[in-house]
Subunit: 409 residues, 2 copies
């Protein structure tokens, strides 16, 4: 990564302090040809002020036309090219719940599911059992013993858990056992085609199949969570560390495990939150950790959730809630405040989408004010930042914070 | 090409249907400092409506400052980086007339020319002999026999023909025999410097020189077409196939052989046209094949031709003719309609040029309406697409047609 080489070369230990506010799925679309987007419809006096005073533009998360998943979308915001750096689902899920995945470990995302007497899946999520029930089932699975390896089974949320294997000679090169649909039995574990002859992959598949056989026995009476599927086998992605690349002490304030997971994998400190945190609660947590960090990433989930639900007005309301809470961040006098999203989630499409994401950089000492007078998709089209790859955002953040040395004499 | 890897990974078999309307050499320049470009001067109510409702921008065919040939310009529109994928002129010419170039074949573009009694070229195009005369001369050349290889000589148009050699141990690494000027004799065939010691190139050069010697004898009485020159020696470019990369069944509606050639080389179905087809005729051919294709590329030649002629008003008239015919495409209710050019051909310059090309994407389910209210160079500067590499157009087309899976979890 040319970007990372440059950052390592130029980043300094001192300089201004940065807040990166990510509203997940921020970008939207008009419901009608002449209508506003969600962000345009929202009444956002604080964001509009920042857009008016600072620089705006549109961020392209992965590449033009590509709809990002949340993992790649965040990697890009942190400056990690998502086409170069991939995080397997198992590693991401484990990191999200604070379960360390070491080099050589194999982690998988697990689902409790319901199978009938023939072993055929009738519910892929076991009726979304409560988290307490999931934790009980995990405790049952934790009794399984596998020859020669350590095994950890840990609840994530509801029907979701993580399986981690630790030992010598393991490989994550396995196919999912989750068939992705009902009406069929889970697949046995098998090496991916490219690793068909790899002894480590064969050995790991045998261990996983032994786990699955014992799980079937142990969960027999646990209807509806009477079986499991596994997917996203992965090991430590060995990502470059944020601190090494950017020389920033960084913290993550996020409610959902996955965003904590990405942040933990690149070495951010994870600030404790609760599932009930509102935007203002999260901003207060930023304030509480502000003295001890150069960089705080704060993540708002519900812009994306309401977009996925197709609820235009509810997404507008979340944006307005964030705007109303914004003074709590501004009171910290950050040198640089960036507001953006990891991708678009237009309520019109009820889905992530490929559309570029409205972005503002507010940094009173260094920003170039453009002619934009409010924060919205159409307004950002005319902004100082133009359209730019999301991976350029971190260099811009450091530059605005005066944390990059000159390149060359 | 990362783009192709991504497309192969993400493209789905189902989704919306796409029309790509290419007005060759669409972009222009004002004749006077305060004047309009050709596209701005044209009265185009239909294109203006599409620009107003959809997204606009400026496409960069190859790279900033680079003036594209028609082959590279079209490769870029189809998502093939023209700096990576090259089509030798001989292969392009052969494909244009439906002559298959197989792996190992060597094809060259031929010109009939006029030489004097000393073998010196006095007319590089043999007075642009009529196509019937060219075909007669090709029939004469077809009588030539070369040791150990099959030889095909086929008329293209007027003084232009294709020579194709098929056999073992051939190489296209030969210099042009066409000196590119009058007053000198054609060059003998020679390997290119890098292949000077390559036995295949040496062997092919010998065969071609044998062909040239026999051609000189056989054409002696055929004044003005009494000799030939050859250039653009090439073999099968082995381009990735459109269907494999994008999972689209695609068709080409074009009048000129070269555009059919590019399309054929990437595996599009070539729809029959006549040399007299007007834009509306071509659009009606799109309609006739619409049920059996996901993607139709339709090519308008005369915007470029009038630009090359330096005829500003005539280019305006072609654009207006296309606009007037446009309802024939809109009546098909495409999910995505893209209007662009392969490069600019300003009448002011009487030539292709490097200027970025006005582009619009109209896709009612997914497009972001920008603030642009008409289709023109200056208007597109403020559009939602910004300035973008032409190779991003296909990913955008597929995204707007909802034919791409999400990247990452």
């Amino acid at each position: 990564m040319a970007n990372f080489d440059l950052m390592r070369q130029l980043a300094t230990e001192s300089g201004g302090k940065i807040i990166l506010l990510v509203m997940d799925g921020l970008g939207g679309l008009p419901l009608e040809v002449d209508g506003p987007t969600e962000l345009e419809a929202a009444v956002t006096p604080n964001l509009d002020r920042l857009a008016r005073e600072g620089s705006t533009g549109l961020s392209i998360p992965i590449a033009r036309g590509i709809e990002p998943g949340s993992g790649p979308g965040h990697l890009a915001l942190f400056g990690y090219d998502p086409l170069t750096y991939e995080i397997g689902r198992g590693a991401l899920e484990a990191a999200g719940i604070g379960l360390e995945v070491r080099v050589g470990d194999v982690a998988a995302r697990g689902n409790f599911c319901t199978v009938d007497e023939n072993g055929v899946i009738v519910d892929r999520r076991a009726g979304r059992i409560p988290t307490e029930k999931g934790a009980e089932a995990c405790a049952t699975l934790q009794e399984i013993e596998l020859p020669g390896v350590e095994m950890i089974v840990r609840e994530v949320k509801e029907h979701r858990f993580v399986l981690l294997l630790r030992g010598e000679g393991l490989s994550p090169a396995l196919m999912d056992t989750d068939p992705g649909k009902t009406g069929v039995a889970p697949f046995p574990a098998r090496p991916v085609p490219e690793a068909a002859d790899d002894p480590a992959a064969q050995h790991t598949a045998e261990l996983v199949n032994e786990f699955l056989a014992q799980a079937r026995e142990k969960l027999r009476g646990h209807h509806p969570a009477n079986m499991v599927t596994l997917r996203g086998f992965a090991t430590d992605p060995a990502l470059p560390q944020f601190k090494d690349v950017y020389k920033l002490t960084a913290a993550c304030v996020a409610v959902y495990p996955m965003y904590k997971g990405v942040s933990r994998l690149i070495g951010m400190d994870i600030i404790e939150t609760t599932a009930h945190d509102e935007p203002l609660d999260e901003f207060n947590r930023v304030a509480a950790t502000w003295d001890s960090h150069d960089f705080v990433f704060v993540h708002i989930k519900y812009t994306d959730s309401r977009g996925e639900d197709g609820k235009f007005d509810a997404k507008v309301a979340v944006i307005e809630q964030v705007d109303a809470a914004l003074p709590a961040l501004l009171d910290l006098n950050p040198d640089v405040l960036i507001v953006t999203g990891d991708h678009s989630t237009p309520a019109k499409l009820r889905s992530h989408s490929f559309h570029p994401v409205p972005t503002l950089i507010w940094a009173p000492a260094t920003h170039m004010r453009d002619n934009v007078t409010g924060f919205g998709e159409r307004q950002c089209m005319g902004g100082a930042l133009g359209q730019f790859p999301a991976t350029d955002l971190m260099p811009l953040a450091l530059a605005h914070a005066r944390r990059l040395k000159r390149f060359g004499a």
